[in-house]
């Protein structure tokens, strides 16, 4: 063989292999990979060591994508160890960013190795863990002590086939946040807004008075749609988890927003969502004067919009009529326990205590501003009117009063295996076709339903 032809064969081989490398990179991300422990930011928890007098503490590895959650677990483990000297725990906190945590947890479960004892799972990612054989421990046997005090619709969100697979962090009751400074300048008293008709009147008044928009059209995400559907008592999925998006309630919800869009009463904010950096900038700049989000959005105000302190009021959502549901718990994080963990029982006991007990729920509110799942906390005035609490200081109305006024009629939207696909399709396609391209709502909803049915399993 000539040297020249050998060289050219070699060149082609090298070229092909670079191609294959590229393709394999794509493929490799799909293949179950062992979780690299080296990437984990593992910090030991010194606080737990002091209590290890009676028994040797059991190490529990905890994964979270929120550092404050990990700090909270570590802090609470000291209190746990004092109260339970016979079964002390030592929390090994491991931080991953949001995407890596869920990717790694999914890969670890698939591979059946490297799964942590305890892991936070965000509701947006919840559906992928409900596929196939669920690897989380059923927490029902562990909550009996507190069961009567817990807000059940929230537990339903993280339940499947009667099994409770996570301890939720909060109720996540959806409310309306009003910028009172802007509304007052436009002559609007937010406390008079009770129904969507009142809300529409306010939209018009605000537009006439200021030339700006009071509210926005959510083109990415489905909080507004979920709110309206829930008030009408309709779910986005049926009992089997299949999409139900072209019923009369869906049409009514979409048409309400669409009417405001056609009358030019709603802003289109960058990214079409008020929980992105661009969207939060629109809220902070006063481009809009109201947002509808769960109570966990309070933290966005206190941490990222300090200039608005004292100017934001929390109020119940407007309703269609007296029969409407008043709120719905949306989003959030559930803390799960691996059912194959050697210390599953202890981990479950700890998780339930740290998140759902009166002490745990109170701690979550004080440190993280989460509306408590355990209603004992909401009845404790030393907590609900604490003048030092940063959330109570920031907002001009008391979130606990709002919560109390809606808690008798809360709706539940289930998150099941197809919820991720549904949210994604609504965000990418449906809202843009209806609100931006002005296509006929019923036609688009019918096509959305058909497309999502074919993608669902």
């Amino acid at each position: 063989m000539k040297k020249g032809s050998l060289l050219s064969i070699l060149t082609v081989l090298v070229m092909l292999s670079t191609l294959l490398i590229g393709c394999a990179q794509a493929a490799a991300t799909e293949a179950p990979a062992e979780v690299p422990a080296t990437e984990a930011v593992a910090t030991e928890a010194p606080a737990t060591e002091a209590a290890a007098t009676a028994a040797e503490p059991v190490e529990l590895e905890v994964w979270s994508f929120i550092q404050q959650h990990l700090d909270y677990f570590v802090e609470m483990s000291a209190i746990w160890n004092e109260a339970n000297p016979d079964k002390p725990v030592k929390i090994v906190p491991v931080f991953y960013d949001w995407a890596s945590l869920h990717d790694k947890l999914f890969a670890a479960q698939l591979a059946g190795a490297g799964v942590p004892d305890i892991a936070d799972v965000e509701m947006g990612k919840w559906p992928m863990f409900m596929n196939g054989e669920v690897q989380f421990l059923d927490l029902n046997p562990y909550i009996t002590e507190y069961a009567q005090d817990l807000v059940t619709p929230i537990l339903d969100m993280v339940s499947k086939d009667g099994n409770l697979y996570a301890a939720p962090s909060h109720v996540g009751a959806t409310v309306m946040y009003y910028n009172t400074e802007l509304l007052e300048a436009a002559g609007i008293d937010y406390t008079t807004i009770k129904t969507w008709d009142d809300f529409e009147a306010a939209l018009k008044t605000y537009k006439e008075a200021t030339g700006n928009y009071m509210f926005y059209c959510e083109t990415y995400g489905a909080y507004q749609f979920n709110v309206l559907m829930s008030e009408l008592g309709a779910t986005l999925i049926d009992e089997k988890g299949m999409p139900t998006l072209n019923g009369p309630e869906a049409l009514k919800s979409v048409e309400l927003i669409n009417k405001w869009v056609e009358e030019d009463l709603l802003a289109f904010i960058p990214t079409g969502n008020a929980d992105t950096p661009e969207g939060k900038a629109a809220v902070a700049n006063g481009d809009i004067a109201a947002v509808a989000y769960p109570l966990w959005y309070m933290g966005r105000f206190t941490d990222e919009m300090p200039d608005l302190a004292g100017k934001i009021a929390i109020a119940p959502l407007p309703v269609f009529d007296a029969n409407s549901y008043k709120s719905v718990g949306l989003g959030g994080t559930g803390t799960t326990v691996d059912k194959n963990s050697e210390n599953a029982a202890l981990a479950a006991e700890f998780v339930v205590w740290v998140k759902l007990s009166p002490e745990g729920s109170a701690g979550l509110w004080k440190l993280l501003g989460f509306d408590p799942v355990n209603i004992q906390v909401a009845n404790d005035t030393s907590i609900t009117t604490d003048p030092e609490n940063k959330f109570l200081k920031y907002f001009s109305s008391n979130p606990f009063e709002v919560l109390a006024s809606v808690s008798d009629k809360m709706f539940t939207q289930k998150t099941m295996q197809n919820s991720g696909i549904i949210n994604d399709y609504l965000s990418a396609t449906t809202w843009n076709r209806i609100f931006v391209d002005k296509e006929d709502p019923q036609t688009v909803l019918d096509e959305t339903q058909a497309e999502l049915l074919s993608q669902s399993k």
């Binding site: 191609l19 490799a28 799909e30 559906p127 196939g132 990418a428």
Partner: protein
């Protein structure tokens, strides 16, 4: 009897061994398991063979044609920009009459050193949809136009993606062309000049033919790079779906199905289709450009 080891003969095998091992373990095995998974429904604790169902689902999936369309348009546009312009710049930088060429080389190469995450975020904010974003404020103040909703509309979004790619990759392509240019013997140019060839003729009949191997190489990696684009669009839309999926690429679809929604079987099927598309495109291109021909001598 003595066993003689001819080190001259063994050495090459030892040198290529690390590559071969890595290739077998990380690539051949991965591709093999991808092929198997593309015929499976992969759920936690529940893996089943489902025949061609993943491919059938893909045919009915409305995202798939969109991803293919976006990826192809993106690839063609990057090819149209990232071969001729770097070539022109490289010739200019190589010219003796060019002043401060070192400075330009550094400046053009700099973007490549910037991580795609940082670049994507920066572009996302530059092309934000408010009047105040960098690009919109320039358009409004200089040309008096309306603000452009860059990341919400198909063609503006494509312009942003291609601009990002051009900004990042022009420098490295210039480097390839410069090294190609430096390997052309000066005597050839002198001979041309003596024969009376003008600048354009020298470029057309000497520089381009002599750069053919470089052009073929760049074409190959650019086609692959275009078809495998992912990180740029992932960053521009912050890992979320873009409106009407205007930023969805084939690899983006793999990520969305496999990682975000946990449908590894379906994602594997898409990955295999991408493999076939990339391989066949590159093979056709190499055949047409003569990259597969034996060197004649």
């Amino acid at each position: 009897m003595k066993i003689k080891i001819n080190s001259q003969k063994v050495a090459p095998y030892i040198f290529v061994l690390p590559f071969v091992l890595i290739f077998l373990v990380f690539f051949v095995y991965s591709i093999g398991s991808t092929i198997v998974m593309s015929f499976q429904s992969v759920k936690i604790g529940d893996i089943q063979f489902i025949g061609l169902d993943n491919y059938r689902m893909l045919l009915n999936n409305s995202d798939f044609p969109i991803a293919i369309r976006n990826t192809l348009i993106y690839t063609v546009l990057t090819l149209l920009l990232l071969i001729p312009f770097p070539l022109t710049f490289a010739v200019m930088l190589n010219s003796k009459s060019m002043r401060a060429s070192g400075l330009y080389r550094a400046a053009l190469f700099m973007p490549l050193l910037c991580s795609v995450v940082v670049a994507g975020l920066t572009f996302r904010f530059m092309f934000n949809e408010t009047n105040a974003s960098l690009v919109n404020s320039v358009i409004i103040n200089l040309f008096g136009g309306e603000k452009v909703r860059w990341l919400s509309l198909q063609w503006p979004a494509m312009i942003v993606m291609v601009t990002l790619a051009s900004w990042r990759w022009t420098g490295i392509n210039i480097i390839y062309f410069l090294s190609g240019l430096n390997s052309i013997p000066v005597e050839l140019y002198e001979a041309c000049e003596i024969d009376g060839a003008n600048t354009w003729q020298r470029f057309r009949y000497l520089t381009i033919p002599m750069l053919k191997p470089t052009i073929i190489y760049l074409l190959t990696i650019s086609i692959y790079g275009g078809l495998a684009m992912f990180a740029e669009s992932q960053m521009l839309w912050a890992g979320k779906s873009s409106p009407h999926n205007i930023g969805l690429t084939i690899v983006g679809l793999i990520y969305k199905n496999g990682i975000s929604q946990g449908q590894l079987g379906l994602a594997s099927a898409i990955g295999l289709i991408l493999l076939v598309v990339v391989l066949s495109t590159n093979l056709v291109q190499l055949k047409l450009t003569g990259g597969l021909k034996k060197e004649s001598k």
